[in-house]
Symmetry: C2
Subunit: 559 residues, 2 copies
């Protein structure tokens, strides 16, 4: 249908530039804090950040960045990273946030596939770049953030400069260009179960709508009176959209950079009177444990949105009892911006029903539509018991992957995103995940591809079959368990297989747990039947040997 | 800029149909209550309302209503009116809510200008229609709501039917049509200072965005745990967008129909545990007065958004002290959907500063951009003291009027809506109205055109000059004061002039107050200089005679 003749409603675009203009005016007095436990905390007003974003926009233009060009970041959470979040999309370029935990192969892949010629990079992370420098086909220019070493010889062929020096030298853009709000604003790759990472493009419209939703009382309830600490990294699903939500609402932002220790988080909350802090369950378990052993004042904290893995009731209860703050569970994924469901329950709901609802993944978020589809493609009712694969659609839900038609085809079912989660939904729209349709392991909020691990294990000369499933883990929620069929007379054990894998996958993917079995169970059509393995594990019928204090240690420092 | 090749973000339309789908699923268990003080309260689930909206859509399709066609309503607030709010736009037609307080001339004008062939009308309001039936050029079909008399002889030429009977006879639409979210969803006329009412068209996109914003913590904070009583009529700026906000968030809705007495409002709040009630200051003054004389339990109420006129501190304080609920001031107009600014102040702001900010019109709402422009067209700084005409733009701000190019031209300044209010804004984005650029009087939340009143006064043979200005009024905030220059030897007094006007304008426009003066002061170019009159009034230098208990009485029953 065409609009009515004479329709005169403002078709005002929803853009990141609009958010920056708001930071320069209505929310000008809010602040961005780079908290440092050593006392070197720095702070800047929203107006100041907006000014620096306008300088960054001008500078990128001078570097030849045009609308639609990707500009990448490889950085921890910081005010400088926030300036990139604003200035890059506001000139119509595309912010590509690179996950600093990728393997060298995947880091190379996403930088080349994303195609940015300019990268803003923390000096402390230059080592990651140096390791892959020779394979980068698109990158030309480095803008250096924070303190640390200057680029080494391996990065000699790139031009490089300091961000602050560059911004000091340029006048801020007087006005942002007009940008179509359906154009791409940001790009974030997600590690799936197989193959290369897949790029999710967010439009200006989707980012602004998501920011509005994050300010709603039934979701993250971010408001002007809040001080928000996003512990979730800014290279991970846009830090759950919190930077843009704060820009819109005027909530102040607190960043702790690379130091995500419980001690620093507790200190930041105390010093900056943080009211909302967002992270994966592992972070909150650490903080709770820390609070049991130290004097902490987190009385300002009222809400800790928590996603990336199921949250145990004991953690929620302990958190409320000892820290006085409510953990609010949420469900989402990179493809869903990520707000898909939030388990915020109205206050007048009776205690036990509250818990039942809080322990679910939450109420389907506003503007998100959901359906459950069984294996035969039949839509299932919302009765709280019928299961199906969760499929979602909406203005901030991906409908495919950037330059990846095969993955897009596989991910989308008639306009709905296949989430890979099996779930029930009740007649209140409460989502409960019950199983996983795709074959993935979620460890500390990050995906581990079991299929990729199996492929690498099979590369070992003594491995005949390998099936990797999730093993419950107190700290990481899940860790991979490798079920391996060895060749006759094989001598390889856990230590050797771990060493073998360590050269081929990210350190924190390497399993600590192995089960040596005689055969991987198969389905009628000969596929690995992991359901049988999971059932055996649940029954205690798998002999699991553990070798991995080294990995656990590297996982905690590397994350 | 064209979107990046490969951009795969869902361009999911923001439509009223999406809200109805949400009512049928996620918010299905919320309810709509038609409260009646006599005990005949009825209630229906959101799922039931969504089902009836789908029946209404099917029925209108069978009547020949097509996308883009207007369908009008002339009705008090009710569940049936809500069904029209949903079912009409969801099929792509345009909901035209007709103000039942219009003069017969304006009623005729908006019905003909809007062009609806189908009108949903409360049986109790058929008399208004009968009075103008002969002049209606477009209307063909009446759908009758509620109880009351059947159409009389004057309405014989229209087909008519009962809504409930029609819905019982038709199957609900299985799916809503795909509608462009920039298409018109609703049409509401505003009475300006001169000439005919002007139509503001809301798009689907603007309505859904506005509903999202109403759920944000810093605006109306409508959430799933709320029970909302919109006292503001559904024919007035979409009842401040509350029906759509409730559909989206799952807040239950309570309607009191035509009985807006303090006794009924108090009873509805008590019986239905209302948490948010929205209305003009007059409503809250009445409720406060009522509460001083009667036993009322409004303990469930936590927030009373209040707009349409400045709210006195005494009212806010009395309301909080006696009723325990916070009046939150908001600013907006039909052209702004209406959320333009909301004076919700974070809790940690010190007491006296809180009051200063709560007594302002509020913080500029999310997605709304504002500027102050002085008489010379120069933009003014946001320093809390520099004044200028308030101009706004944004995705739910009108950029013109329906089929009215002249009025559109006058209202829009380079893409910004001229609000007619003179204001300051401070460095927190706090809006304070200081004067009125346009020549209008706001009485009980409704506009009265001083220019139109002057025109009618001049029609009286004994009136030489007439200038109408606003007079402060305890009950209505403002009432018109007619400053009249009579011809030599004239005999007309207030009573005669009032009788003369009563036949020409709406009853509640008729001034109670008159000042007989020797000459209307003029500006250098010979225009009426009302600033001088206002200054004289403020100084007590105008002799005001009052004649109007009759008008006050009719105003309170007619409103």
């Amino acid at each position: 249908m065409s609009p009515l003749p004479g329709l005169m409603q403002h078709d005002h675009p929803l853009t990141i530039a609009g958010l920056v203009r708001r930071m320069a005016t209505v929310t000008a007095r809010s602040e961005v804090v780079d908290f440092r436990a050593d006392g070197r905390t720095t702070r800047r007003s929203f107006a100041g950040v907006a000014d620096r974003a306008a300088r960054l926009g001008a500078h990128l233009g001078a570097l030849g960045v045009r609308e639609g060009d990707r500009v990448a970041t490889l950085a921890w959470n910081s005010a400088q990273h926030l300036e990139a979040y604003l200035g890059i999309p506001a000139i119509g370029a595309v912010l590509h946030t690179v996950n600093l935990r990728l393997t060298p192969e995947h880091l190379t892949y996403v930088l080349n596939h994303g195609g940015a010629r300019v990268l803003l990079v923390d000096r402390t992370l230059l080592g990651l770049l140096e390791a892959v420098a020779d394979d980068l086909t698109e990158l030309e220019h480095l803008v250096l953030l924070g303190e640390g070493p200057e680029p080494g010889a391996a990065l000699e062929r790139f031009r490089s400069e300091d961000l602050d020096a560059a911004l000091a030298d340029v006048a801020p853009l007087a006005a942002w260009p007009e940008v179509d709000d359906r154009a791409a604003a940001a790009l974030c790759y997600t590690s799936g179960t197989t193959g290369n990472p897949k790029g999710v493009l967010y439009s200006h419209r989707s980012s602004v709508l998501h920011a509005l939703a994050a300010g709603m009382v039934d979701t993250l309830a971010v408001g002007r009176g809040d001080r928000v600490l996003p512990i979730v990294p800014m290279f991970h699903a846009n830090a759950w959209g919190l930077p843009y939500a704060c820009a819109l609402t005027g909530a102040s932002l607190v960043f702790v950079g690379r130091d995500m220790s419980a001690a620093t988080i507790a200190a930041a909350i105390a010093a900056e009177r943080v009211t909302i802090a967002a992270g994966v369950p592992t972070i909150w378990m650490d903080l709770l444990r820390y609070a049991e052993q130290h004097e902490v004042d987190v009385s300002s904290l009222r809400c800790a949105p928590c996603g990336g893995a199921a949250v145990p009731r004991a953690l929620m209860e302990g958190f409320e009892r000892r820290l006085g703050a409510e953990i609010v569970q949420a469900w989402g994924m990179t493809e869903t911006s990520p707000l898909g469901a939030v388990a915020r329950v109205p206050e007048d709901v009776p205690e036990e029903e509250r818990w039942a609802r809080r322990l679910a993944q939450g109420t389907i978020a506003p503007l998100v539509e959901a359906r459950l589809v069984d294996d035969a493609g039949v839509e299932q009712p919302w009765d709280g018991t019928s299961e199906g694969e969760l499929q979602v659609r909406g203005p901030w839900i991906a409908a495919g992957y950037y330059r990846d038609p095969d993955a897009s085809e596989e991910a989308i079912d008639d306009g709905w995103l296949r989430t890979g989660d099996v779930a029930t939904i009740d007649d209140r729209g409460t989502l409960r995940l019950t199983d996983r349709a795709k074959d993935i392991i979620k460890s500390g909020g990050e995906w581990i591809s079991s299929v990729a691990l199996e492929g690498e294990l099979l590369a070992h000369p003594e491995v005949l079959e390998a099936a990797v499933i999730a093993h419950p883990d107190e700290r990481w929620t899940e860790r991979p368990l490798a079920c391996v069929v060895l060749a006759p007379r094989a001598t390889a054990g856990p230590a050797e297989l771990r060493a073998f894998l360590a050269e081929r996958v990210a350190r924190w993917w390497v399993p600590e747990r192995f089960a040596f079995i005689e055969e991987v169970p198969k389905t009628s059509v000969g596929k690995f039947d992991k359901k049988v393995l999971r059932a055996r594990l649940a029954e205690g019928a798998l002999a699991v040997c553990v070798d991995g204090t080294g990995v656990a240690a590297s996982a905690s420092t590397g994350r």
